[in-house]
């Protein structure tokens, strides 16, 4: 996650948001791409718009850039309504998914392009281009043309070009999509460093939830033109607002239950998957008999052959599949009623004493704090 001042700006009522998206709707003919969306983004955030293909995240980004006009509503930047301002007049720059480097210009000229539009004096332009080349470590590539660059190098040029004008807001459209895994991881941290160093607000669109979790100050999860949840990566992961968000981020086991009431530990549910009653620690305002769900992340399910001493939060089943991942192993456990749950355990002991193997009868157990109750 990226670092921010000790009180997160979105929790501080005295802080004014840098970007305000107010009641924005975008229609393409009959199709509603963005449906009455409201969002505040604060200065120096590294904000991610995350969601499946077609959820509207790229459309929202393009509206911030000015390439799509708002059908209804308005967009404010630092208090000023920019909804009607065309893209070439907005103090915002964008890094395109395809990089969009000008093929007939050298790397230098690509980076200098935006500065030339502002009619800056030539030596200032050269200086700024030098700075940018150093920032992305491509000083030796200044005279090359885009068709002489690798994918990673093209990406850096695109980044340098988009930062050359020192915009206050940088939009990034799936910037790491075309890179291989190792390069992607490396670039994620570099992006975070650059963002902090230059004090630019970043808004990034991605469908890769791991990426969003790594780099973001906050994530906005979108689906079908709506914002489902806006929160820090931790909150999104550990306290998803509904089944869709829980399922979209990382792995999760979602079980159904019937509300029985509250006791001193928390919410009491009766689950279809086991005869023992299940607890979770949230307080939920509901009535007896209401249907709800609880979500448990695989790493929070303890798996063992010995029956746990607790009375509650126990399921038993048989190991059907094991995926050995080196640092951890994933166990697929089939319960008596046929449902399969996923449990992950770190391989902390080199020679496994409590060795688990296929067909083993095991108990799955979790603490009341580990599960999240979901109402929808």
């Amino acid at each position: 996650m990226s670092e921010l001042p000790s009180v997160n700006p979105w929790l501080d009522p005295s802080q004014k948001p840098y970007i305000q998206i107010e009641n924005v709707t975008k229609k393409f003919g009959d199709f509603t791409a963005i449906d009455n969306l409201n969002l505040d983004i604060y200065k120096n955030e590294f904000f991610s718009l995350l969601g499946p293909s077609g959820c509207g995240k790229t459309t929202l980004l393009r509206m911030l850039a000015g390439f799509e006009k708002v059908t209804n509503g308005r967009i404010l930047l630092d208090g000023e309504d920019i909804s009607e301002i065309p893209p070439h007049l907005r103090p915002i720059n964008m890094m395109f998914q395809s990089y969009a480097l000008f093929p007939h210009m050298t790397v230098e000229k690509n980076i200098a392009f935006g500065l030339k539009q502002d009619n800056l004096p030539p030596n200032e332009i050269n200086q700024r281009v030098e700075e940018m080349l150093q920032l992305v470590e491509l000083t030796d590539f200044a005279k090359r043309k885009p068709n002489q660059l690798s994918g990673g190098q093209s990406q850096r040029v695109a980044l340098a070009r988009s930062l050359a004008k020192r915009p206050k807001l940088l939009l990034l459209d799936e910037p790491l999509g075309a890179l291989d895994k190792r390069l992607r991881e490396q670039t994620q941290f570099e992006l975070m460093d650059i963002q902090e160093k230059l004090e630019v607000t970043f808004v990034i669109v991605t469908h890769d939830q791991e990426e969003a979790m790594t780099v973001s100050s906050r994530i906005g999860v979108m689906d079908s033109g709506n914002l489902i949840q806006v929160a820090t990566p931790t909150e999104i992961y550990e306290a998803p607002v509904n089944k869709d968000v829980a399922d979209f981020i990382g792995d999760v086991n979602i079980l159904r239950g019937i509300y029985k009431g509250q006791n001193d530990v928390g919410t009491q549910l009766h689950s279809d998957d086991s005869d023992s009653i299940v607890f979770a620690t949230q307080e939920v305002g509901a009535s007896t008999g209401d249907e709800m769900w609880f979500a448990i992340r695989p790493e929070k399910l303890e798996i063992s052959k010995k029956k746990p001493t607790d009375q509650h939060n126990i399921l038993n089943g048989r190991i059907e599949d094991i995926a050995y991942g080196g640092s951890f192993s994933t166990y697929h456990v089939r319960l008596d009623n046929g449902r399969i749950l996923k449990a992950i355990r770190a391989n902390r002991v080199r020679t496994e004493e409590h060795h688990l193997t296929w067909e083993d009868e095991v108990y799955l157990h979790w603490t009341p704090h580990s599960a999240v109750v979901l109402l929808s």
Binding site: F67, H88, F102, F113, G114
Partner: protein, 274 residues
């Protein structure tokens, strides 16, 4: 080799002498007393061309008309190609069809149609006079202007198609990137679109310039006696004067003049592919 045959024939005829016979030129090889035939060739046709200023004037006039026509065709053709490339995808096929459709009718008939439009009592003058823009008919037929109209009209598809092929493939995100970096739309056109459409522009220009240099039908039907083009001169030599050697020499020299543009065209296409 097959494509070279006509050229070789014409070259052979250009080196012969005109005679009253069928065909009206001397043979290249003559069998006399000795065992091997002797070669009878002469450069008198070529010398004749250089001596009479008519031919030099005709080449220069063709050059002038070809260059101006190419520029006019480029200006009109680029606008059309650009509009089609920017049109909604489902309309593009139809629009291109409209551009190519005239090709399906005979070239000669289309040129004749222009006579009907441009002549003194033709459609254009009738329309303008009935609206009241002019009270005396415009004299367009049998002038250089009519030739330009005819050439631009006939050769537009040759300009539009390569331009369109290039513009259609253009990455729209490049234009967005330019705008995002602060470039106004008009300037984006000159700094991004035009340089990137250069291969299409060059292809279109060569595909118009090279054939127009030797164009005959359009200047003959639409132009006046003052409209001097080398194609007409060649025709006159061949059919009226029955001087096949001179006519052939005219053709060979025209080809020699076009070698440079043709090679430039080849080079530009190779560059575009790489």
């Amino acid at each position: 080799m097959f494509f070279m045959l006509p050229f070789i024939f014409v070259l052979k005829i250009s080196l012969a002498e005109p005679i009253m016979a069928i065909p009206p030129y001397t043979a290249l090889l003559e069998w006399g007393d000795s065992f091997f035939p002797s070669i009878r060739a002469s450069l008198e046709s070529y010398l004749f061309l250089f001596s009479d200023s008519l031919y030099i004037k005709a080449y220069l006039s063709s050059l002038k008309i070809a260059i101006i026509s190419t520029i006019l065709t480029l200006l009109i053709g680029y606008s059309i190609a650009y509009s089609v490339a920017k049109a909604p995808t489902r309309w593009r096929g139809v629009l291109l069809m409209l551009v190519i459709l005239p090709f399906w009718t005979s070239f000669l008939i289309r040129v004749y149609a222009w006579i009907g439009i441009l002549k003194t009592e033709g459609l254009l003058n009738l329309a303008l006079m009935s609206i009241g823009i002019i009270d005396k008919p415009l004299i367009i037929m049998n002038t250089d202007l009519a030739v330009y109209i005819g050439i631009v009209y006939s050769y537009l598809p040759f300009m539009i198609l390569p331009l369109y092929a290039n513009l259609e493939k253009m990455d729209m995100s490049l234009l967005e990137a330019a705008a995002d970096l602060g470039c106004r739309p008009f300037k984006t056109f000159w700094t991004v679109t035009i340089p990137l459409s250069m291969p299409g522009i060059l292809a279109g220009c060569f595909l118009v310039f090279i054939p127009v240099m030797g164009e005959f039908v359009i200047p003959d039907l639409l132009g006046g006696t003052k409209t001097l083009m080398i194609g007409k001169v060649l025709w006159t030599e061949f059919f009226y004067n029955r001087d096949w050697p001179v006519a052939s020499a005219v053709a060979i020299i025209l080809l020699a003049l076009l070698v440079v543009p043709i090679m430039l065209y080849q080079k530009s296409q190779e560059k575009a592919i790489s």
